[in-house]
Symmetry: C2
Subunit: 322 residues, 2 copies
Amino acid sequence: MNLMGIDIGGTKTAACIGNDRGEILASKRMPSASDTIEHYRKQMLELCYETIAKAGLKPEQIDAIGISAPGPLDCKRGVLIAPPNNVGWRDVPIVDMVQKSFKAPVFCNNDANACALAEMLFGEYRGVKNLVYLTFSTGMGGGIIANGELIQGATDTGGEVGHHTLDPNGPLCGCGQRGCWEAYVGGRNVAEQLKAKIRDGNVTTTMVEKAGGIDKIDVRAFEQAAREGDRFAMAEWDMFTDRVAQGIGNLIMILNPDVIVLGTIAIHTGDFVMGPIRDKLPKYTWEWPLKVCKVVPSSLGGKIGDLAALAVAVTGLKHAGQ
Amino acid sequence: MNLMGIDIGGTKTAACIGNDRGEILASKRMPSASDTIEHYRKQMLELCYETIAKAGLKPEQIDAIGISAPGPLDCKRGVLIAPPNNVGWRDVPIVDMVQKSFKAPVFCNNDANACALAEMLFGEYRGVKNLVYLTFSTGMGGGIIANGELIQGATDTGGEVGHHTLDPNGPLCGCGQRGCWEAYVGGRNVAEQLKAKIRDGNVTTTMVEKAGGIDKIDVRAFEQAAREGDRFAMAEWDMFTDRVAQGIGNLIMILNPDVIVLGTIAIHTGDFVMGPIRDKLPKYTWEWPLKVCKVVPSSLGGKIGDLAALAVAVTGLKHAGQ
């Protein structure tokens, strides 16, 4: 079976050819930025044809196509509603745009859901029935598998765990709510809050030097300063990992999963972030659901984007009964 | 198809005979309190035989038996681990106790999960794919249906939504954690916190008189005082319903359900509690998942215990492939 995956991100779009065992035969990428949606469509289709040729195949040999794209989106209509990092993209009928050029059925889902499907189908813990994937990146996206099925929800916002409220009096989130999990642990919010604290509090921290200026502070500089014993960074790291643990603990109590897989920050930072999270989890969960739940960084590494799009194709075919 | 349901509670045990359409042919009840587990077993079996006879049936005409019981329990082994309101019951092999006397297969689940199954199979919104049931009683138990399946979880604690953390600095919960949803909204905790505030703060409130003394304050007296304009009660009611809304909002963001059904307090108190909850929900959820999610009191009324046990039998048979 030959599957094509299209992974649409804020900065790049990738196409890949692979199969339902998660083996990738070919992949190519291009920038997502484009003058118009119509121009983007042409470039993306060109990328698809080139990737198919690179795999030694012809378009009619593709059995299904999966698209992984930033939410919010309407999976039934196949429409990207308003991807936050693709300026000017509103109500983009992404599935139709691809479907017109291929015979194979086209399916789409949001990137965090697609990653959860990739972890279930191709990851280290493939085959488990209850799994949560957390993007743990600029934002905190999530995808939930329960009983072996993705929780898509009534309006395709199932798994928007980054916007459950950790404290009604907490910091304002980009989504307009207060005290969302993402407001505490999303990379962008964390960086903004650190900058404000350093400026307003006249704080001395090595973070500034590491980042090359207050304005350039990011999670990487935060982590490095904390690792090297910077007092302010260490205290903030403690609060940061505590809020990560609260959110994960909430998911363990609500969903009782076998595995929680964390992306980006967890992969880059390893035990320095996973250690404190694991230490703090017993505050937020009962003993026995915690005992069985593996809380781990993703093992899929740089391939997760391609595999996520392929997983959307595999799952789409399965639901279509093929 | 003839099904038997056994609904085990802290104070009473009920048996009923019904079918997979939720029609009840006969039901009987008895106190749960008993000198020994062995004595309880004999009384419960007697109750079952009497109920079967009352329905005009013989034991061999029963096709499946469902047990709804207080958690925590181990559904695979069919064991009640430590029901909080049944003193001295530890590791009670409830399924074996019943199975020995009947040919029909016996299934069990915890009461909140069983109620969620009853709502999905027999409730006003039967047939929806994504539903959450909340007990909203002494405690805050929950049962989650996603994609038409109960989220049982890895250790049968799926749906323990009452113990997700609303605020790490919140009040101590009976479970040992701090700031659980149940610590804010479970009837027992609400009453205890009101008593402490009235005593320690030397507060004047009509709640005391309505309850017949500080020690007797319960959610009913709290509600009545708030309804009649008691200032302290009204301010507390506002905070109480806000915390109910925060937890429901979290479930809407995480699960994106079609329906959230609330039991006990919602049924007794109606719009006086549902109104403020609905008013406060937009603080805690995005607009579009909230718009499609019905947040309603249960329509199953006094029959929900019987129907919950029957629903466990129906679901058990389905999973057994019969």
